[in-house]
Amino acid sequence: MKKMQTDRNYEGIWIFGDYRNYFQNRVTLQLISKGKELAQALKTEVTVLVLGNRIHQYAMEYVAHGADVVMVVDHPRLKDYHVETYTLLVAKMVESFRPEIFLAGATAFGREFFPRLAKRLRTGLSADCVSLEIDSESGLLVQTTPAFGGDLLAEIVTPDHRPQMATVHPGVFEERVHDPLAVGRIVYPELEIEADERVQLMRTRPEQVRKVNLEDAPVVFAGGRGLGSMERFQVLFDLAELLGGEVGATRPAILSGWVEDTRLLGQTGKSVKPRLLVTAGTSGALQYTSGIQGAEAIVAINRDPHAPIFKIADLGLVGDAHAILGLLLEKLRKRL
């Protein structure tokens, strides 16, 4: 495989260790797994970079999930995530160690921090990728991102700048199983810790008392504007409860005030990959379908047989959602 002139100085696959919400937020582990694949193609290693305070256990976890190297910067002043301070420190490390590829999960923090870092390093960054591959001819990292709400895909490369950076959509890749016997090096590079005082975290607390867990639900019932009213969303909640699932909604339904905005599915909301997703009264607008395409099976219900939603459904039912779902609920209640 041909390597470019500029690549001679840059080598390795780095991953930013986003360890906050460790048990729900698996994206770093998913990236380690994908990173290993990319590393194999490029004959190099996967390094995870973690900054924080008392974070050694995360380093161990990352090794167990496949990291070849974990670089740890552990200091009390790094106790909380901080964009400017992290940019300062990580940029220095990148300049010293010159990784060829640097990935981060497209968490809220990742999407705040990585662009600033990419700008400091004067390199290219793609956002929220759904696919990463090494092009066999050029050796470039081909980064695929959704455009115009997700129905169009763009393949992006960073030909002349290094590192090639990307944030990756959580849930796209599969993490490797935890292996307590995995071997990896944990290193503590020497670094002067300068904190940027211009932004200070005054208070932090978890967001919602009641958590809507769409991402883990095995069955999702989703509703849109076509349902017609808040009352008609109730049948979705009843069905979800019956089958141990969760309820999602499109932006128009949320803007109409029918359900809370933590249930938003789609590009600016959550992406879900349940076993079954039933979507009712949704026309199939691009920025919605990108959030549900990962489902194993999609059942769509809509009065309009030409609605675009039917193009991505395994089973399409043309009719009145209210009548169909009501009848479904009745029959399932009798059975279960």
Partner: protein, 380 residues
């Protein structure tokens, strides 16, 4: 020749449509059912300059050009015919004549509050015995000292029940060989002006149309708009511009009818397919769209001429004649397409059908428009 809306006009359309969809559309059905004029929404619209559309900023208006004005009326009417009627009549035949024919005191005293929406205006010409034959009107204004005393009955006054400022057309010289009319600005709270009950109409329900009765209503000379005897001239000039507004109302209603018909045709299935898959239905939709296109271009042309200060009597009559017809035809075709459902109040199409009809009647019936056009064709 430039057939597209300018950047400004396109932004205006978008802005009004957004307001209409958010605030008017949800209220339109209830307005029609209860025949109640929504004062709260009118208040919001006043703050957004909907009651001073063509009036210059120095008098509290928005200072829009005629094409922009037509676009605004179309978009309001698309959401609510009754509100479109209110805004159109207030602007083009009540406020505008005061701007065009009033003196500075009248502009300051009457026009400014109207442009700001503090007072809603009416145009009172029609009487029990004077419809198309406006010159048969009988309301009389007798000189009395330095003022006039008005006596008479005006009917079908659009915006009547909520108006603050009324333009009253009256005879100042009843002698048969010299019948002369004059316009008076009469405040609703003036002694001797009374309003009757709101009319129970087929459509445009929610617009508070009512009769206005004058008995020994004394108005000072400073309330006279223009000179004595100038009433007919003012009426004709005013109605010229008013036609563009009515045409735009009809266009808005037609567009709304087309929009819901397309949606229905896609959703409704019979004989194993969507209505929109049938050639016959495709033909109907195509005809609806073509008529709407033609009406829109006629309206823009008349507006353009008016904006340039050019003669537009024939063109505005053409626009009103054609667009009013389109409003009726397209809403009827839409209702037919909706079948039984279209006949129920669950769908808005029957309201569009009821609202559209009056556009062929008021501010000069379609028959009158034909005469106007023919006169232009046959004059020497």
């Amino acid at each position: 020749m430039h057939l597209e809306l300018s950047m400004k006009q396109a932004v205006i359309r978008r802005t009004v449509r957004k307001f209409a969809e958010e605030r008017l559309s949800p209220a339109a059905g209830e307005m029609d059912a209860t025949a109640r004029f929504p004062l709260e929404i009118a208040g919001e619209m006043a703050d957004l300059h909907y009651f001073g559309l063509e009036i210059p900023a120095e008098y509290g208006g928005a200072g829009l050009d005629t094409v922009s004005y037509a676009v605004v009326i179309e978009e309001i009417s698309r959401a609510s015919g009754a509100m479109g009627l209110c805004v159109c009549v207030h602007n083009s035949v009540s406020a505008y004549p005061i701007y065009e024919f009033g003196n500075e005191d009248q502009r300051r005293g009457f026009l400014v509050p109207m442009a700001k929406g503090q007072k809603i205006g009416t145009f009172c010409l029609t009487e029990p015995n004077a419809g198309s034959d406006a010159s048969a009107l009988e309301t009389i204004a007798t000189r009395d000292g330095d003022g006039y005393v008005l006596n008479g009955n005006k009917i079908f006054v659009t915006n009547g029940a909520v108006s603050g400022t009324n333009l009253i057309f009256a005879l100042t010289n009843p002698a048969p060989e010299r019948r002369e009319f004059t316009v008076f600005i009469v405040e609703s709270d003036r002694d001797g002006l009374e309003k009757g009950p709101i009319e129970d109409l087929m459509g445009m329900r929610g617009n508070p149309v009512c009769p206005i009765m004058l008995s020994d209503c004394r108005v000072p000379e400073k309330n006279r708009l223009g000179g004595e005897g100038e009433g007919m001239k003012i009426a004709l000039s005013t109605l010229n511009g008013g036609r563009i507004g009515i045409a735009s109302q009809a266009l808005g209603i037609a567009q709304a009818s087309l929009d819901v018909s397309i949606k229905y045709a896609r959703e409704r299935r019979q004989f194993g397919q969507s209505l929109s898959d049938f050639d016959a239905v495709k033909g109907v939709l195509a005809d609806m769209a073509t008529k709407i296109d033609a009406a829109r271009l006629l309206i823009y042309r008349a507006s353009y001429l008016r904006a340039k200060g050019l003669d537009h009597g024939k063109e505005s009559a053409t626009a009103k004649l054609y667009a009013a017809g389109v409003g009726v035809e397209v809403s009827r075709a839409g209702l037919q397409m909706h079948g039984g459902y279209g006949y129920t109040k669950a769908y808005p199409i029957e309201r569009y059908y009821r609202d559209a009809k009056v556009c062929e009647i008021y501010e000069g019936t379609s028959e009158v428009q034909r005469i106007v056009i023919a006169r232009h064709l046959t004059k020497k």
